[in-house]
Amino acid sequence: MLLLGWIWGLLFAPQDAVQGNSYRIIFLHVPSVIFAELIYFFMAVCALMHLVWRVKLAAYLIKSAAPIGAMITFIGLFSGSIWGIPTWGTWWQWDARITSTLILFIMYLGVLTLHGSFSNLEKADRLMSILVIIGVVNIPIIKKSVDWWSTLHQPASISVSGSSSIDPSMLYPLLISIIGLGFTLISLGILSSRSYILSREKNKKWVLMHV
């Protein structure tokens, strides 16, 4: 599905009147940054579940999702930087959207570093969950940064509730790319959490019987 969206976007979607063909980066950039935020939000929900109800699995899911979040945030930042060269004439600007997304990337790395720095894994799970919840304040800042501050970024072109300002010939492949990347990341998340759960529970009877 992801390939279908990308092939449609790269080969068949019309050229943009202002940006030319460089806008085709949108089919990787926009899905990446959407999931960079959604994965962190998912981690925050898991962190709440771990801290309030002591759900062990929730902490395992945070630990498994964080590298995927860091990876997709990096792709979002990288693709945006490359897109900026022909569009803005610069690969980096300290504007609100880019800076808050960079903070999100640092948060992902921080979560992983914090968890890796404790030998007591239960304590690491708890502190990692607290850090994830503190960092979630950054998500609405990223979302609203283009409205609150004057930035190089244009306001959102697609909207879940209202009408989208992007032409359907570009919107459809973009939506397919978003759904496709979603499925791809879910598959990666299942693989990643499977190996982490097995490694954390390796001394348990059910794992020894299962493998």
């Binding site: 063909n21 590298p67 792709i75 490359i82």
Partner: protein
């Protein structure tokens, strides 16, 4: 809508001078995602091997 925007492979690769930006982004993006899948699969196999070894020795 389903007529390709590009007449030949050269045009597709060049993309009016933007090809270097567009293709490099997709190439690196796809590589990173593919490597992530390979690493995840390798980790599962490594953990399963460890557990099987433990199972066999106990």
């Amino acid at each position: 809508m389903f007529n390709s925007e590009f007449k030949n492979l050269n045009e597709l690769l060049e993309m009016g001078g933007h090809g270097i930006y567009v293709w490099s982004v997709y190439l690196i993006g796809i590589s990173i995602i593919a490597i992530s899948f390979l690493v995840a699969k390798k980790r599962i196999k490594a953990v399963q091997r460890k557990i099987k070894f433990k199972n066999a020795s106990s």
